[in-house]
Amino acid sequence: MREASRAGKRRSVYIRMALVMTLGVAAGVTMFIATLRSGPATQVTGRNTLAALSELVDQQGRPFDAAKIHGRYAVLYFGFTFCPDACPLALSNLTVALRQLDPEAEKIESVFISVDPARDTPEKLNEYLAHFSSRIIGLTGSVQAIQAAEQSFGVIALEHNDANLPGGYTVDHSNDFIVLSPSGRVLMRVPANLSADELLAQLRTLIPVVEAIQPQARLHVSLAS
Protein backbone atom coordinates (compact mmCIF):
# COMPACT_ATOMS: atom_id res chain seq x y z
CA MET A 1 0.00 0.00 0.00
CA ARG A 2 2.63 2.50 1.08
CA GLU A 3 4.87 1.17 -1.65
CA ALA A 4 2.16 1.78 -4.24
CA SER A 5 1.50 5.35 -3.18
CA ARG A 6 5.20 6.02 -3.01
CA ALA A 7 5.64 4.68 -6.53
CA GLY A 8 2.74 6.86 -7.68
CA LYS A 9 4.31 9.89 -6.12
CA ARG A 10 7.57 9.02 -7.74
CA ARG A 11 5.83 8.69 -11.10
CA SER A 12 4.26 12.13 -10.76
CA VAL A 13 7.64 13.54 -9.87
CA TYR A 14 9.00 12.04 -13.08
CA ILE A 15 6.23 13.59 -15.13
CA ARG A 16 6.96 17.00 -13.68
CA MET A 17 10.66 16.45 -14.10
CA ALA A 18 10.14 15.47 -17.74
CA LEU A 19 8.24 18.70 -18.25
CA VAL A 20 11.06 20.70 -16.78
CA MET A 21 13.50 18.82 -18.99
CA THR A 22 11.60 19.61 -22.16
CA LEU A 23 11.58 23.23 -21.11
CA GLY A 24 15.29 22.95 -21.50
CA VAL A 25 16.81 23.45 -18.08
CA ALA A 26 20.59 23.12 -17.67
CA ALA A 27 22.46 19.88 -18.31
CA GLY A 28 23.16 19.28 -14.62
CA VAL A 29 19.49 18.44 -14.19
CA THR A 30 20.11 15.14 -15.93
CA MET A 31 22.40 14.11 -13.12
CA PHE A 32 19.86 15.22 -10.54
CA ILE A 33 17.17 13.08 -12.14
CA ALA A 34 19.52 10.14 -12.41
CA THR A 35 20.26 10.47 -8.71
CA LEU A 36 16.59 10.74 -7.84
CA ARG A 37 15.73 7.68 -9.90
CA SER A 38 18.58 5.31 -9.15
CA GLY A 39 20.01 6.44 -5.85
CA PRO A 40 18.73 5.72 -2.38
CA ALA A 41 17.24 9.21 -2.35
CA THR A 42 13.79 7.90 -3.14
CA GLN A 43 13.79 5.39 -0.29
CA VAL A 44 13.39 7.99 2.40
CA THR A 45 10.64 10.56 2.13
CA GLY A 46 8.11 12.44 4.13
CA ARG A 47 7.89 15.00 6.84
CA ASN A 48 8.77 12.66 9.68
CA THR A 49 12.40 12.47 8.65
CA LEU A 50 13.01 15.84 10.27
CA ALA A 51 11.31 14.89 13.52
CA ALA A 52 14.27 12.70 14.48
CA LEU A 53 16.50 15.76 14.54
CA SER A 54 14.39 17.37 17.25
CA GLU A 55 15.71 14.78 19.71
CA LEU A 56 19.24 16.18 19.31
CA VAL A 57 21.16 19.13 20.80
CA ASP A 58 23.24 21.71 18.95
CA GLN A 59 26.87 22.73 19.53
CA GLN A 60 25.74 25.07 22.31
CA GLY A 61 23.94 22.22 24.02
CA ARG A 62 20.52 23.67 23.21
CA PRO A 63 17.72 21.32 22.11
CA PHE A 64 17.39 21.54 18.36
CA ASP A 65 14.09 22.57 16.84
CA ALA A 66 13.76 20.83 13.46
CA ALA A 67 10.99 23.26 12.55
CA LYS A 68 13.84 25.70 11.91
CA ILE A 69 14.70 23.66 8.83
CA HIS A 70 11.15 23.28 7.58
CA GLY A 71 10.49 25.81 4.84
CA ARG A 72 14.14 26.05 3.88
CA TYR A 73 16.52 23.86 1.96
CA ALA A 74 18.86 21.84 4.09
CA VAL A 75 22.16 20.11 3.53
CA LEU A 76 22.81 17.38 6.09
CA TYR A 77 26.15 15.69 6.59
CA PHE A 78 26.68 12.83 9.03
CA GLY A 79 30.26 12.60 10.33
CA PHE A 80 32.31 12.83 13.51
CA THR A 81 34.94 15.13 14.94
CA PHE A 82 37.60 12.43 15.45
CA CYS A 83 37.57 11.99 11.67
CA PRO A 84 40.62 13.89 10.40
CA ASP A 85 40.34 13.23 6.66
CA ALA A 86 36.95 12.58 5.05
CA CYS A 87 34.87 14.83 7.35
CA PRO A 88 37.03 17.97 7.19
CA LEU A 89 37.17 17.55 3.42
CA ALA A 90 33.36 17.40 3.29
CA LEU A 91 32.92 20.38 5.61
CA SER A 92 35.55 22.39 3.71
CA ASN A 93 33.74 21.71 0.46
CA LEU A 94 30.48 22.74 2.09
CA THR A 95 32.08 25.87 3.56
CA VAL A 96 33.46 26.95 0.21
CA ALA A 97 30.19 26.16 -1.59
CA LEU A 98 28.18 28.19 0.93
CA ARG A 99 30.57 31.09 0.61
CA GLN A 100 30.26 31.03 -3.19
CA LEU A 101 26.49 30.69 -2.93
CA ASP A 102 26.03 33.80 -0.78
CA PRO A 103 23.51 35.39 -0.50
CA GLU A 104 21.62 32.36 -1.84
CA ALA A 105 23.14 30.40 1.07
CA GLU A 106 20.53 32.10 3.27
CA LYS A 107 18.05 29.63 1.80
CA ILE A 108 20.04 26.66 3.04
CA GLU A 109 20.36 25.29 6.54
CA SER A 110 23.57 23.26 6.86
CA VAL A 111 23.68 20.61 9.55
CA PHE A 112 26.54 18.37 10.69
CA ILE A 113 25.21 15.39 12.64
CA SER A 114 27.57 13.27 14.73
CA VAL A 115 27.73 9.53 14.15
CA ASP A 116 29.97 9.26 17.23
CA PRO A 117 27.79 10.58 20.07
CA ALA A 118 29.89 8.78 22.70
CA ARG A 119 32.78 11.16 22.01
CA ASP A 120 31.16 14.13 20.31
CA THR A 121 29.94 16.39 23.08
CA PRO A 122 28.45 19.78 22.12
CA GLU A 123 31.78 21.38 23.18
CA LYS A 124 33.74 19.10 20.81
CA LEU A 125 31.36 19.94 17.98
CA ASN A 126 31.70 23.62 18.72
CA GLU A 127 35.51 23.55 18.60
CA TYR A 128 35.54 21.45 15.45
CA LEU A 129 32.98 23.53 13.58
CA ALA A 130 34.86 26.74 14.39
CA HIS A 131 37.16 25.68 11.54
CA PHE A 132 34.35 25.79 8.99
CA SER A 133 31.46 28.03 7.91
CA SER A 134 29.73 29.64 10.87
CA ARG A 135 26.45 28.73 9.12
CA ILE A 136 26.92 25.04 9.94
CA ILE A 137 24.86 23.74 12.86
CA GLY A 138 26.33 20.76 14.73
CA LEU A 139 24.07 18.16 16.33
CA THR A 140 24.72 15.34 18.77
CA GLY A 141 22.68 13.44 21.34
CA SER A 142 22.09 10.08 22.94
CA VAL A 143 23.14 6.93 21.08
CA GLN A 144 19.47 6.07 20.54
CA ALA A 145 18.57 9.53 19.22
CA ILE A 146 21.52 9.48 16.82
CA GLN A 147 20.59 6.02 15.59
CA ALA A 148 17.05 7.22 14.98
CA ALA A 149 18.38 10.16 12.96
CA GLU A 150 20.66 7.86 10.95
CA GLN A 151 17.73 5.57 10.18
CA SER A 152 15.49 8.48 9.19
CA PHE A 153 17.93 9.49 6.50
CA GLY A 154 19.16 6.05 5.45
CA VAL A 155 22.62 6.73 6.84
CA ILE A 156 24.93 3.87 7.74
CA ALA A 157 27.45 4.28 10.57
CA LEU A 158 29.49 1.40 11.99
CA GLU A 159 32.26 1.45 14.55
CA HIS A 160 35.47 -0.13 13.31
CA ASN A 161 38.02 -1.14 15.93
CA ASP A 162 41.60 -0.04 15.43
CA ALA A 163 43.74 -0.30 18.54
CA ASN A 164 46.29 2.22 17.24
CA LEU A 165 43.74 5.01 17.06
CA PRO A 166 42.93 7.31 19.98
CA GLY A 167 39.92 5.74 21.70
CA GLY A 168 40.53 2.49 19.84
CA TYR A 169 38.03 2.92 17.02
CA THR A 170 36.95 4.90 13.97
CA VAL A 171 33.49 5.11 12.45
CA ASP A 172 32.75 3.97 8.91
CA HIS A 173 29.92 6.15 7.68
CA SER A 174 27.86 7.21 4.67
CA ASN A 175 29.77 10.06 3.09
CA ASP A 176 27.08 12.10 1.36
CA PHE A 177 25.53 15.50 1.56
CA ILE A 178 21.80 14.89 1.92
CA VAL A 179 19.88 17.73 0.33
CA LEU A 180 16.36 18.34 1.67
CA SER A 181 13.62 20.35 0.00
CA PRO A 182 11.75 23.06 1.92
CA SER A 183 9.04 20.47 2.61
CA GLY A 184 11.59 18.16 4.24
CA ARG A 185 11.91 15.61 1.42
CA VAL A 186 15.23 14.09 0.53
CA LEU A 187 15.92 15.55 -2.89
CA MET A 188 19.33 14.09 -3.59
CA ARG A 189 22.57 12.85 -2.17
CA VAL A 190 25.79 14.39 -3.34
CA PRO A 191 29.01 12.46 -2.65
CA ALA A 192 30.85 14.55 -0.05
CA ASN A 193 34.29 13.88 -1.52
CA LEU A 194 33.57 15.87 -4.68
CA SER A 195 35.19 19.26 -5.01
CA ALA A 196 33.44 22.33 -3.64
CA ASP A 197 32.79 23.45 -7.22
CA GLU A 198 30.87 20.29 -7.99
CA LEU A 199 28.75 20.58 -4.84
CA LEU A 200 28.09 24.20 -5.75
CA ALA A 201 27.07 23.26 -9.29
CA GLN A 202 24.66 20.64 -7.94
CA LEU A 203 23.04 23.09 -5.52
CA ARG A 204 22.85 25.84 -8.11
CA THR A 205 21.12 23.48 -10.52
CA LEU A 206 18.83 21.95 -7.96
CA ILE A 207 17.29 25.00 -6.33
CA PRO A 208 15.75 26.55 -9.47
CA VAL A 209 14.45 23.12 -10.49
CA VAL A 210 12.70 22.61 -7.16
CA GLU A 211 11.26 26.10 -7.32
CA ALA A 212 9.97 25.43 -10.83
CA ILE A 213 8.27 22.23 -9.67
CA GLN A 214 7.05 23.51 -6.33
CA PRO A 215 6.35 27.24 -6.52
CA GLN A 216 5.53 27.10 -2.80
CA ALA A 217 9.21 26.39 -2.15
CA ARG A 218 9.96 29.99 -2.93
CA LEU A 219 7.11 31.12 -0.69
CA HIS A 220 8.49 29.07 2.20
CA VAL A 221 11.86 30.62 1.72
CA SER A 222 10.57 34.17 1.72
CA LEU A 223 8.50 33.45 4.82
CA ALA A 224 11.51 32.01 6.58
CA SER A 225 13.90 34.81 5.79
Partner: protein
Protein backbone atom coordinates in the same frame (compact mmCIF):
# COMPACT_ATOMS: atom_id res chain seq x y z
CA UNK B 1 93.11 27.07 -1.90
CA UNK B 2 93.33 23.30 -1.53
CA UNK B 3 92.46 23.58 2.11
CA UNK B 4 89.48 25.74 1.36
CA UNK B 5 88.23 23.27 -1.23
CA UNK B 6 88.52 20.40 1.22
CA UNK B 7 86.50 22.34 3.74
CA UNK B 8 83.80 22.89 1.18
CA UNK B 9 83.78 19.16 0.39
CA UNK B 10 83.69 18.25 4.08
CA UNK B 11 80.77 20.55 4.67
CA UNK B 12 78.94 19.36 1.58
CA UNK B 13 79.10 15.66 2.41
CA UNK B 14 76.60 15.53 5.29
CA UNK B 15 74.26 17.83 3.41
CA UNK B 16 74.52 15.63 0.32
CA UNK B 17 73.77 12.44 2.21
CA UNK B 18 70.67 14.03 3.73
CA UNK B 19 69.43 15.15 0.33
CA UNK B 20 70.30 12.09 -1.66
CA UNK B 21 67.29 9.98 -0.76
CA UNK B 22 65.39 8.62 -3.72
CA UNK B 23 62.20 9.18 -1.73
CA UNK B 24 61.03 12.74 -2.33
CA UNK B 25 58.26 14.27 -0.24
CA UNK B 26 56.84 17.52 -1.61
CA UNK B 27 53.89 19.89 -1.22
CA UNK B 28 53.59 18.69 2.37
CA UNK B 29 50.88 20.13 4.59
CA UNK B 30 48.79 19.32 7.65
CA UNK B 31 45.18 20.30 8.08
CA UNK B 32 44.70 22.61 11.03
CA UNK B 33 42.28 21.22 13.61
CA UNK B 34 41.10 22.17 17.11
CA UNK B 35 43.99 22.35 19.56
CA UNK B 36 42.67 19.34 21.48
CA UNK B 37 42.29 17.09 18.42
CA UNK B 38 43.68 13.62 19.06
CA UNK B 39 44.75 13.12 15.47
CA UNK B 40 45.48 15.27 12.44
CA UNK B 41 45.86 14.41 8.78
CA UNK B 42 48.96 15.22 6.73
CA UNK B 43 49.19 15.31 2.94
CA UNK B 44 52.05 15.35 0.44
CA UNK B 45 53.22 14.15 -2.93
CA UNK B 46 55.67 11.26 -2.60
CA UNK B 47 57.90 10.25 -5.46
CA UNK B 48 60.75 7.91 -6.17
CA UNK B 49 63.63 9.57 -8.04
CA UNK B 50 65.61 6.33 -8.13
CA UNK B 51 65.91 3.59 -10.70
CA UNK B 52 64.62 0.88 -8.35
CA UNK B 53 61.33 0.50 -6.49
CA UNK B 54 61.28 1.58 -2.88
CA UNK B 55 58.89 1.61 0.04
CA UNK B 56 58.27 4.01 2.87
CA UNK B 57 59.40 2.30 6.05
CA UNK B 58 58.56 4.86 8.69
CA UNK B 59 57.60 8.42 9.44
CA UNK B 60 58.17 10.02 12.81
CA UNK B 61 58.14 13.42 14.44
CA UNK B 62 58.68 14.97 17.85
CA UNK B 63 55.33 16.70 17.32
CA UNK B 64 53.31 13.46 17.20
CA UNK B 65 53.01 10.37 19.35
CA UNK B 66 52.76 8.15 16.31
CA UNK B 67 52.47 8.49 12.55
CA UNK B 68 50.69 5.96 10.37
CA UNK B 69 49.92 5.85 6.70
CA UNK B 70 46.16 5.70 6.15
CA UNK B 71 43.71 5.54 3.34
CA UNK B 72 40.07 6.60 3.20
CA UNK B 73 38.32 4.00 1.08
CA UNK B 74 34.87 4.48 -0.41
CA UNK B 75 32.56 1.48 -0.81
CA UNK B 76 28.86 1.90 -1.60
CA UNK B 77 29.01 5.50 -0.50
CA UNK B 78 30.55 4.60 2.86
CA UNK B 79 33.86 6.15 3.87
CA UNK B 80 36.19 3.80 5.74
CA UNK B 81 39.53 4.90 7.13
CA UNK B 82 42.10 2.12 7.24
CA UNK B 83 45.82 1.85 7.98
CA UNK B 84 48.10 1.11 5.03
CA UNK B 85 50.54 -1.62 5.96
CA UNK B 86 53.11 -0.44 3.47
CA UNK B 87 53.55 1.92 0.60
CA UNK B 88 55.60 0.97 -2.42
CA UNK B 89 56.62 3.46 -5.08
CA UNK B 90 57.92 2.21 -8.42
CA UNK B 91 61.10 3.65 -9.94
CA UNK B 92 60.23 7.11 -11.21
CA UNK B 93 56.76 6.72 -9.71
CA UNK B 94 54.61 9.11 -7.72
CA UNK B 95 51.95 8.63 -5.04
CA UNK B 96 49.75 11.52 -3.95
CA UNK B 97 48.44 11.79 -0.41
CA UNK B 98 45.35 13.99 -0.78
CA UNK B 99 42.20 14.73 1.28
CA UNK B 100 39.73 11.90 0.96
CA UNK B 101 42.42 9.43 -0.06
CA UNK B 102 45.78 8.48 1.36
CA UNK B 103 46.97 10.54 4.32
CA UNK B 104 49.47 10.52 7.11
CA UNK B 105 47.57 9.89 10.31
CA UNK B 106 49.27 12.09 12.88
CA UNK B 107 48.25 10.64 16.22
CA UNK B 108 48.43 12.49 19.53
CA UNK B 109 49.76 15.80 18.23
CA UNK B 110 51.60 18.32 20.33
CA UNK B 111 48.77 20.66 21.39
CA UNK B 112 48.41 24.08 19.85
CA UNK B 113 49.63 23.53 16.28
CA UNK B 114 48.25 26.46 14.33
CA UNK B 115 47.96 27.50 10.74
CA UNK B 116 51.33 28.87 9.64
CA UNK B 117 53.37 26.51 11.84
CA UNK B 118 55.87 24.17 10.21
CA UNK B 119 56.33 20.65 11.59
CA UNK B 120 59.34 18.44 10.81
CA UNK B 121 58.58 14.82 9.90
CA UNK B 122 61.39 12.33 9.39
CA UNK B 123 60.95 9.71 6.69
CA UNK B 124 62.89 6.52 6.27
CA UNK B 125 62.77 4.56 3.03
CA UNK B 126 63.58 0.91 2.33
CA UNK B 127 67.17 1.77 1.35
CA UNK B 128 67.66 3.10 4.88
CA UNK B 129 67.87 6.68 3.66
CA UNK B 130 66.40 9.26 6.01
CA UNK B 131 65.10 12.70 5.14
CA UNK B 132 63.35 15.36 7.19
CA UNK B 133 60.50 17.23 5.55
CA UNK B 134 58.74 20.36 6.78
CA UNK B 135 54.95 20.06 6.77
CA UNK B 136 53.06 23.35 6.74
CA UNK B 137 49.97 23.60 8.95
CA UNK B 138 47.10 25.14 6.94
CA UNK B 139 43.58 26.25 7.81
CA UNK B 140 40.90 23.79 6.82
CA UNK B 141 38.82 25.58 4.22
CA UNK B 142 41.72 27.09 2.34
CA UNK B 143 43.75 23.93 2.25
CA UNK B 144 41.04 21.59 1.07
CA UNK B 145 40.18 23.48 -2.04
CA UNK B 146 43.12 22.40 -4.16
CA UNK B 147 40.93 22.54 -7.22
CA UNK B 148 39.89 26.10 -6.50
CA UNK B 149 41.41 29.39 -7.45
CA UNK B 150 42.87 30.51 -4.13
CA UNK B 151 43.06 34.13 -5.23
CA UNK B 152 39.28 34.26 -5.21
CA UNK B 153 39.03 33.12 -1.62
CA UNK B 154 38.17 35.48 1.16
CA UNK B 155 40.72 34.58 3.80
CA UNK B 156 39.53 37.28 6.17
CA UNK B 157 36.27 35.40 6.63
CA UNK B 158 37.96 32.28 7.95
CA UNK B 159 38.29 31.29 11.57
CA UNK B 160 41.72 30.91 13.04
Amino acid sequence: MMRRMMMVVAMAVPVMSAMACDLKVESAWIREAPSNATSLAGYAVLSNAGSKGLSVVSASSAAFGRIEMHETLMANGIAMMRALDKLEIAAGGKVEFVPGGKHFMLINPRPGLRSGDAVAIKFKDSSGCESTIQFQVSAAAAAATDTMDHSKMDHSAMHH
